[in-house]
């Protein structure tokens, strides 16, 4: 067990290093540097050159990389070209917003997936199963951004049930009950939209997992012993089918990252995905680099968590 985790960590470390090198090289290709926007056109070019030298911008790339990565490890992600403030400060509030959006999405995903998957797997080929399978078919083919647009149009504009932008109503005092309520209200529509699309994979997986388990010998044995139908399902089948689903939790993170970029953009929700798109449009590349790095590390960690849970659940998967 521990051997597996240590081995898995040995794969993760080079992945993180490679990712940081890739992102650093990408950052090098981006136009502009920490001095852009600060420069007064009347300043002597030699002085600018001197300043660049002092900041280490003329060093070979591996020296610059080492400087950058040591800074990043100490929590210094550089300065925003545009806002002239540390990127970490800019990112902090956004990161919290995206965190809550992701938590809400994951919760709703499982709230939808588990009953639907169980119904469809337990009563397979019934009309309920056909309805659910139809939903997964359509959900699988629908691009998230179109669905989110339609949800915003219907529930945000036509029916007016939900706010159409922002993460909290203005003028509320942080920490008060109304504030939390307003946050929830702003969170709900984006989270539901994202969950209704992303849940489809989990429903399909749970369904086929249950149908597979149903035919296993130990279920026949359990029935032969006289276990009641509900006991067979709740104690024997569910336990075996839900564990792999739990393990996919980590992989969901990678999917969420792509999703938040669209959803936050459409609902005007001030999170990391929204910050990412805005920074690209403003050519604020130090922020872009930081966001990509953070999200890249998040998805590497997600895969790591999933692999570890999977290996706990299913010893056959452990890499030799």
């Amino acid at each position: 067990m521990w051997k597996f985790i240590v081995r898995r960590l040995f794969i993760t470390l080079p992945q993180v290093i490679l990712l940081s090198v890739l992102i650093f090289l990408m950052a090098q290709m981006m136009p502009g540097d920490a001095l852009s926007g600060l420069i007064d056109p009347n300043i002597d070019p030699a002085a600018i050159e001197q300043q660049r030298e002092n900041l280490g911008l003329n060093n070979p790339w591996y020296v610059q990389y080492t400087d950058w990565i040591t800074g990043a490890l100490q929590g210094d992600l550089g300065q925003s070209f545009r806002y002239k403030m540390p990127v970490t400060e800019l990112v902090e509030q956004r990161l919290i917003n995206t965190f809550w959006l992701s938590v809400a999405t994951l919760l709703i995903t499982y709230i939808i997936a588990i009953p639907l998957g169980i119904t469809s797997g337990r009563y397979n080929d019934s009309w309920a199963d056909q309805m659910i399978t139809g939903y997964t078919y359509i959900g699988f083919a629908t691009p998230l951004f179109i669905f989110a647009l339609v949800m915003l149009w219907v529930f945000g504009y036509q029916l007016g049930w939900f706010p159409t932008g922002g993460s909290v109503a203005p003028g509320l005092e942080p920490g008060s009950f109304d504030y939390v309520l307003s946050k929830l209200q702003h969170l709900l529509l984006p989270a539901i939209s994202m969950a209704l699309i992303t849940t489809v994979n989990t429903v399909q997986y749970l369904r086929s997992e249950i149908i597979d388990t149903k035919q296993k010998d130990f279920i026949i044995t359990a029935r032969a012993k006289g276990a009641s139908e509900s006991r067979v399902y709740n104690r024997h089948i569910l336990r075996n089918s839900l564990l792999p689903i739990a393990a996919f939790f980590g992989f969901e993170i990678t999917g969420l990252i792509g999703g938040t970029v669209f959803v936050e953009n459409i609902f005007g929700y001030p999170g990391m995905g929204d910050l990412f798109i805005q920074s690209i449009l403003l050519r604020d590349y130090s922020v872009v680099t930081a966001v990509v790095l953070l999200f890249g590390i998040a998805s590497i960690l997600g895969a790591l968590i999933s692999d570890i849970i999977l290996s706990l659940v299913d010893p056959r998967i452990r890499i030799k």
């Binding site: 794969i11 992945q15 490679l18 990712l19 890739l22 990408m26 290709m29 981006m30 136009p31 078919y137 359509i138 699988f140 083919a141 629908t142 691009p143 998230l144 951004f145 179109i146 647009l149 339609v150 915003l152 149009w153 504009y157 159409t164 990678t254 990252i257 792509g258 970029v261 669209f262 953009n265 459409i266 990412f276 798109i277 690209i280 449009l281 050519r283 872009v288 966001v291 990509v292 999200f295 890249g296 998805s299 590497i300 895969a303």
Partner: protein
């Protein structure tokens, strides 16, 4: 490889001559009414769009006309106009053509790279396979959408070609992984071993013997990928990091809906494009699923 054996058994019991791959596929699609309708829809849309766009001039359509801003659908403009007074119907036709073309192009490019990569990795196995698969693993965990957007934003002289190259660079891993796992099984089979004993070169076994046996899998995967790629392209264009505005795609039309006014009051700009993307993706997916069943004897309906 169970499925292959069952397929042989089945056909021997039922008929003396085993049906050809195409007749199996055709039978499966005809049996599945939804897939049949999807296929007909796809053929209709594709021929309509490519046919009509021959008579449309892209430059003319994307020329701004300030006297016709936000016209609702009417006699002059079948589906109204956008904020630049450009005809939505024309943009819809050209956009569908562009979206389909780039989808097919990216699918083909990722297909070629992925199949060759997976074939080499699976066929040789061992250390080569190990190294090649670690590279795939690394690409797979990258935050795809963000990296593509960054590249789109920083590539100098950005064009449709560079866009498809960027997409291809980060999309070939899925098919490579799939082909690799099949090639790994395939090379152990008697025919490949026999050919090796007879002294065939590795290249010959890979390309003329193993590859044809994987063709059905490749077709299925590429069909499903096509749907995904159309969705991805329109998503990127929606965010403003796909096609430039002078080359409209379905996503470009949808991106106008990011303006709340357009979203709320000017349905004619974005609803047709949204419906078209949905229909395209559902149809391609349905056909893909029918193909998938046709390649797996246990799941066939026909």
């Amino acid at each position: 490889m169970e499925s292959k054996e069952i397929k042989l058994d089945d056909t021997q019991h039922v008929a003396t001559k085993s049906p050809s791959g195409f007749s199996i596929i055709w039978r499966e699609i005809v049996r599945d009414k939804i897939a049949l309708v999807s296929l007909i829809l796809l053929v209709l849309i594709t021929s309509f769009v490519y046919g009509i766009s021959l008579f449309l001039n892209q430059d003319e359509i994307v020329t701004v006309d300030l006297f016709a801003i936000h016209e609702p659908p009417g006699e002059d403009f079948l589906l109204g106009t956008d904020y630049g007074g450009r005809d939505i119907f024309g943009q819809l036709i050209i956009g569908t053509r562009n979206s389909l073309s780039i989808g097919i192009l990216v699918t083909l490019m990722t297909g070629v790279i992925g199949v060759l990569y997976g074939l080499v990795s699976g066929y040789f196995g061992g250390t080569i396979d190990n190294i090649m698969m670690r590279i795939v693993d690394f690409f797979l965990i990258l935050p795809f959408l963000m990296i593509v957007i960054v590249f789109v934003a920083i590539v100098p002289k950005y064009s449709v070609l560079s866009f498809s190259l960027i997409m291809t660079a980060f999309l070939w891993m899925g098919i490579a992984r799939l082909i690799r796992s099949k090639a790994l099984q395939e090379k152990e089979l008697d025919y490949a071993q026999a050919s090796k004993t007879l002294g065939s070169s590795n290249l010959k076994i890979m390309l003329t013997q193993v590859l044809p046996n994987l063709s059905s899998l490749i077709i299925v995967t590429m069909t499903l990928n096509l749907a995904a790629n159309i969705g991805l392209e329109s998503g990127l264009s929606f965010l403003g990091f796909g096609f430039p505005e002078s080359t409209p795609s379905l996503g470009t039309l949808l991106s106008y809906a990011r303006n709340p006014q357009t979203l709320e009051y000017r349905w004619w700009i974005w609803v047709p494009a949204a419906v078209l993307i949905l229909v395209l993706m559902l149809s391609v997916n349905n056909v893909g699923q029918a193909l998938k069943r046709a390649t797996d004897a246990r799941q066939r309906r026909g």
